[in-house]
Subunit: 734 residues, 2 copies
Amino acid sequence: MTTGGFTLPGEAGHEELTLRLAERWGADVIRDSDGTTLSREILDADYGIYSTICLIREDRDWALANQRLLQQNFLGSFPVVADGDVVRIDPLAGYSTDQFVLNDWDGVELWQVFDRTSGTEVPRESWRLVDGTVVVDGTVPGHSYTVNVLVMRVWEEISMYNHVTNDWGDKPRLMALEPRHPAVAQRLEEWLERWCVEHPETTVVRFTSLFYNFAWFWGSDPDLPHVYADWGSYDFTVNPVALREFNAGRAVPITSEDFVDAGRYTSTHNPPSPIYREWMEFTMDFVLALGRRLVDVVHRHGKQAYVFYDDSWVGLEPYSPRFPEFGFDGLIKAVFSGYEARLNAGVDVPVHELRLHPYLFPVDLEGKPTFVPGGDPTADARAYWTVMRRALLRARIDRIGLGGYLSLVEPFEDFQAYVAEVADEHRLVRDLHLAGPPAVAPVRVGVATCWGRLRSWTCSGHLHENPELSLLHVIESLAGLPFDVEFLALDDLAADGVPDGIDVLVNAGPAGSSWSGGPVWSRPELVAAVTRFVAAGGGLVGVESPSALDRAQAPGRLDRFQLAPVLGVDVDAGDRHVLARRRFDVDEAGPAARSILAGVDVATALAGVRPQPGTRLARSGVAVLAATDGVPTVTATSFGAGRAVYLADHRHGADAARLLSNALWWAAGREPSGYATSDPRLDVAHFPASGTVLVASSADVPVTGSVLRDGEVVAEVSLAPAGLAVLDAAALDG
Amino acid sequence: MTTGGFTLPGEAGHEELTLRLAERWGADVIRDSDGTTLSREILDADYGIYSTICLIREDRDWALANQRLLQQNFLGSFPVVADGDVVRIDPLAGYSTDQFVLNDWDGVELWQVFDRTSGTEVPRESWRLVDGTVVVDGTVPGHSYTVNVLVMRVWEEISMYNHVTNDWGDKPRLMALEPRHPAVAQRLEEWLERWCVEHPETTVVRFTSLFYNFAWFWGSDPDLPHVYADWGSYDFTVNPVALREFNAGRAVPITSEDFVDAGRYTSTHNPPSPIYREWMEFTMDFVLALGRRLVDVVHRHGKQAYVFYDDSWVGLEPYSPRFPEFGFDGLIKAVFSGYEARLNAGVDVPVHELRLHPYLFPVDLEGKPTFVPGGDPTADARAYWTVMRRALLRARIDRIGLGGYLSLVEPFEDFQAYVAEVADEHRLVRDLHLAGPPAVAPVRVGVATCWGRLRSWTCSGHLHENPELSLLHVIESLAGLPFDVEFLALDDLAADGVPDGIDVLVNAGPAGSSWSGGPVWSRPELVAAVTRFVAAGGGLVGVESPSALDRAQAPGRLDRFQLAPVLGVDVDAGDRHVLARRRFDVDEAGPAARSILAGVDVATALAGVRPQPGTRLARSGVAVLAATDGVPTVTATSFGAGRAVYLADHRHGADAARLLSNALWWAAGREPSGYATSDPRLDVAHFPASGTVLVASSADVPVTGSVLRDGEVVAEVSLAPAGLAVLDAAALDG
C-alpha cells in the first residue's frame, strides 16, 4: 500500500472513522463537504485541509440587504398571439417567480419586443411598460409577440434545486451577488480576507467555482419545470452594468436578442455569434481580474487556491490561454466519464484532482439507493473507476478523492476495501506518468468544432445528460485511446488550413450544431482547406452530420455535407427526394473493411447507432462496410492521397471505441503500431521510461486476451472483472 | 348483368375470346394495347374502337432522319474536384450516352459552369468547350466544379425502359421529337391526318399523352442506373427554341440553373420558383395550342379524342383552368390507388375512364407472376378494386377497362368471372351517381400546398413510388371519405386568406417540401391568415411537418412549425437541443380523445407511423392523444374559437383513414352526421336521389358491423371479403 494523492471527506462526530479510513486509503488531505464540518480533532490530525467555499452565495444576509446587487439575466417571454391591435404581455408568465423578479428600474432601454411571426423587432415607440405588463400597440391579429426583459435572480439555482428536490421548507434560499458591482467585488474580497484569518488550519481553499452559474431557467408550469439549461452558456453574466461597459464606444451594441436568440439563448450546442464570442472574452477578462485578486488573498494567507470546475465555472474557462493567470494551484473536477478526466488533465495548472463517484450520499443523482440497504456502492465505484481508468492510462491525474457523508460508508466494508484498492491503483498509474509519459500512437487527431480549444474534452455537460450527442461519445472513446488529440476551431482551419502535425481530422455531431459546425461550412475556404488536406494524404473521420449545411445556407451547392466529395457520402434532407439512390453492396471483406472492422464485433459496435435515413452515396468509389436497414452506417473511401471514413453515428463502448481507433489508423494511412490488445475490452498503455506495460479491463466479467506489439502477440493476459495487469516491458521483449 | 362503360383490350388471333369476353363483361368498346392489334373481325363487330397512339415517338424514320429536331434538356454534370488551377469536365460522365448526346452546335451560350463549393457561377470567359470537354481555368484547388449543358435525347425513355427491362436487343429505339420546331409540329399534324384517314373504324383516338415525357435521367454507373426521375417535372420541355422565345424581352432570363438547381432539378416535391412557374405556364400554352390543333384533326374525322394521363402528360395539366380548351372528349388514367381515381373524376372533361390493374401481362411491375402459373390475378384484381371502389363511392367514373394481352386470361376462369362482377358493380355505382350525387359531410376540407389546384389529388407519382410521403397517404384516405376536398395554394391563402366555405385546412408533408410548403411559411401574412382562420372557428389538421421552416429561413422566429402557436406542437430541428421538453401524459379519455380516437384501433391506425423525434409541446393546453416511445403522435388543441389536430405522420389504412376522418370532424367542431359505420373497414355512401345506401368492405375477411345515421344504429350488415351491400334508405328509415 502506498499513500498520498487522496482527498478524504471528513465528518465531525465520526473522528475515529475519519482517521481510520484516512490511513486505510492513504489520504493526505481531509476536506469538508456540503453539509459536513471538520472537528478540531480532525483539523489537528496533521492532514492537509481543504475547505469548500462558494463565494458568490456565502454571504446571504448581505445579499438580502442588497437585492439590487443580485445577478440578472435576459429572459424572453412566452409568446402571445394577437387577436386585435393591442397585445399585453406578462413577461414572467410561465417562469418561476421564486427565481426571477422583473427588473423594471434599471435597463428597460435594453428590453426588446418582437413580432415573432415576421421575426422583426417592434419599434420602441410601439410598446410601453404598465405595472409590469408590456403593452404593444399596432399589433397584427394572428401574429405572435414576445418581449425580452431583464430580470433579477432572487434564488441561486443550485440552492433552488437542492431545496426543491429535498423539500427543505423554510431553510434559507441562497442568492448570488453580481460582482460587476464594485461594492460586491469589494465585499467578496473582504469576506474572503476575514474567512482566511478565521480558518488558519485550512491549507487549500477549494473554490466551488467562482461567480457565474451555468444558465438554468425554471418554469412555473408543472409540465415545464425547466425552460432552459446549458452548462456552458453565459446567459447569467448579463446585467446593465456589464452591458453598458461592453457597449461603450461600440458601433453596433450587443442586444437582448443576441442572448435570447428567439428562445435558443446562448446554448453551447449552437454555433456562437461573433458578438457573443466577444461577450465571452469580455466576461472572461472580468472573471480573471477579480478571480486573481481573490486567489491573491488566499496566497497572502499562505494557503493554496484550488478551483472546482462545477456549477459556477462560467467565465473561468480552463482552456482559455489566460487561465494560468488566475494562479490557481489546482483544478478539481467531479467526473462521470473518462473525457472529464482528460478535460481536467489537459489544463495548464499544477495539480489535477478528480472527485470520483459515487458521492457518499444515500441515493445517487437519479434517486437509486447507494449507501443504504439495496445499494451496491462497491459495484458503482468499480463501474465508475473502470470508465475513468481508461483515461488515466493516457494522461496524468495527480489526486483523486471522494465527497459527501463519510459515516455512510461505515457498514460497507467491501466499499472501504475497494476504495483502498482504487487509491493504490491510482497512485501506481500516477507514478508511472511522473516517471515519463506513456507512448502515444503516431497518429495525431484533430477534433474540429466551432469552439476549438476552448471546449476541449467536453460538449457541455455530462454524457448522461446528452446521451444522443455523437461527438460526446467520440471524445469518450478517444479519452482512453493512445492518440494525441487536439481540439481545433473550424474558423482557424478556414483561415490557416489544417495545422501541421495533424494526421486525421474528426468532424462529428448533429447538423447545424456548434459541434459539426453549422454555417461555418458555407465558407469555401474551409471546405477547400479540408479537401486539400485529405487530397494531400490527410485523414478524415466524419460522424453523423459532418460539414452539414441546411439547404437555405448553401445556395448553389450540390451537397448537404460540404465534404461529400471527400467522404463519398451525403444525406438527403428531403429536397432530393426523387433522386434515385446509388445501389451498394456491403463490403465486409475488402482492404478497408479488413482494417477498420478488425477485432470489432460490428453488431456490438453499432448497437444503438441510428443511421441517417437520407444517407446517399455521393461517389461510386466509396466502400460500405456496414449498413442498417439498407442505410450505410460505416463507409470508407480514398480521396487523392488521403482517406475518409464516415460513421453514421457513434455510441461509446469497447467495440465502438475499437472501431473508431481502427478508423483513425486507417484514415491516417498507417498500420497500427505499438502495443495493442486482441480484445477491445482490454486497454493497454506502455510507459517506456518505466519499462512498464499496463493492461486494464473495462469488462465486468473475466477476460483473457493477447497483448500485441506492432501486430505480433507478445503476451497472453487473464484479467479479473475490472482487473489491471502490470507487465514488465523488458520481459515482453524476451 | 348490365352493359356498357367497359373497355376491353382485344387481340388479333383471339377473336372468339375477345368477343366472348366483350359480351361477358358488358364491354361497349374494344381497344388495342402496346404489342397487340385488332383484326378485321374485331373491328367489324360493332363495338366502339379505341386506338392508342403516342404521337411524339410514332414516326421513327422521320426522327432518325431529323435528329437535330429531337427533344432536349439541361443536364448538370457530376462534380469534378480541382487539384490545380485547371479543371476538365466531361459533361456526360456518369450519364447514359444511349439516352443523351451533347448538343454542342446550338445554345452553348445557355450553358453555365459553377463552383459548387462557393455556390457561384464561373464567368463565361473562364471556361471553354474543347472537343466535348469543358475546360475551366483559374480553379481553386479543393473546390468542386460542374457544368450545365444542353443535351439531345436520342432514346425515348419509355422505349428505353421496355427495351432494357425486356432485353429487346436490336428492336428499334424510339425517339421523341421536339414539337417546338415548326417542322415537327407540321409533321405531327400531317401524320395524324393521314392516320385518321387510314383508320376509319377507330371511334376514339386514345392519345397516350401528348408531347413531353416526365423527367427521367439515366446513368452509366451500374450502381446509379437512374440519376433523376420525377413525374411532374418540366425538365424535358427545355430546348434552345423554347428558351429563346421565353427569354425574348425578359429583363431577367431563365437560366440553365433554374432547371438544374444544383442537381435537384425541377422536382415536384420541392417548392417551385416563380420563374419556373412561368415556364410551366409558357409550356402549357404551347402544349394547349398544338394539342388543340391535333384534337381538331381527330374531330374533323368524326372521331373522339381521349387522352391518357400517363408518361408524356407534362404540359397537359388536367387541373389547369385552360384544360377544357383542348376539347378532349375523355380522360383515361391508369390507377393503383383511390386518389388517382379522384384525380381523374375531378377533371373538367366529359368522360372519365380508369385503366384498372392488373395489367394483362405475365408479370406485374415488380416482376411477380400474374397471368402465369403461380399468379393469382383474381386476388390481385380484388385488392385493386376494393382500393379503387372507396373512391368511386364519392365521385363518378364513367368507364373502366383493362389493358394488355387478352389471351392471357383464357385459363383464368375465376378472373373472367370476377371482372364481370367488377364491371357490374362499377355500372351500379356509376348509375347511382348519374341519378344524383352522394351526400357529402358538412365539413369542407382544404388541402393547402405550394401547388394548390394544379396538383389536385396527387403528389407526383404512385403511392408505391412515394411510400414515405405522408400527404399522399392523407389524400388516399380522403379519396374514400365523404368530405368535399379542395386543393388550395399557400400563396393564395397568404394573399386572400382562407377561402369562404373551407371548414378544415390540412397541411401535410416533409419539412421544406412543396407539400408542407417550405419557404412560403416565412410570409407572415400566410401564418396570420391561417392563425386568424382557426381563431375565428376554423379547423386545422397538420401532418408530419406542417408549416415547417428551416432555422436559416426563419430568423427571429420562435418555432420551426410556424403554426406552432395554433397546433400547440413544434419540432426541434436540433438548435433547441438543451430546452427541456414539456412533460405530458397521454390523454386517452378526454373529450378530444373520445371524438378523435372513436372507433379506431389506435395501434393499427398508427402502425408504421414514424413520430418526429424532436417533437415538443409548444403550449400547455394541448392534449396528447397518443405517443410512441415518449414522442407525441396525435395531439389536439383548441385555439380561439377553433381547433387543431397534429398527426406526426399518416400511413393510409382503414383505421388510419377513420382517425383522419374523426380528426376532420373534431377540428371542424362538429359531431359526425349522416351515414357512418362502426367498423372502419366498411365505407358507406348515401345517394339521396336514388334512395340508396351502399356499404363497401375493404377487408379481405368477412366483416359484420353496424350502419349508423347521425350516430344511431340503423342496420347491421355482414359482408363477404371485398363485399358490397346495397341498402334501401327508406327501409332504414323504417
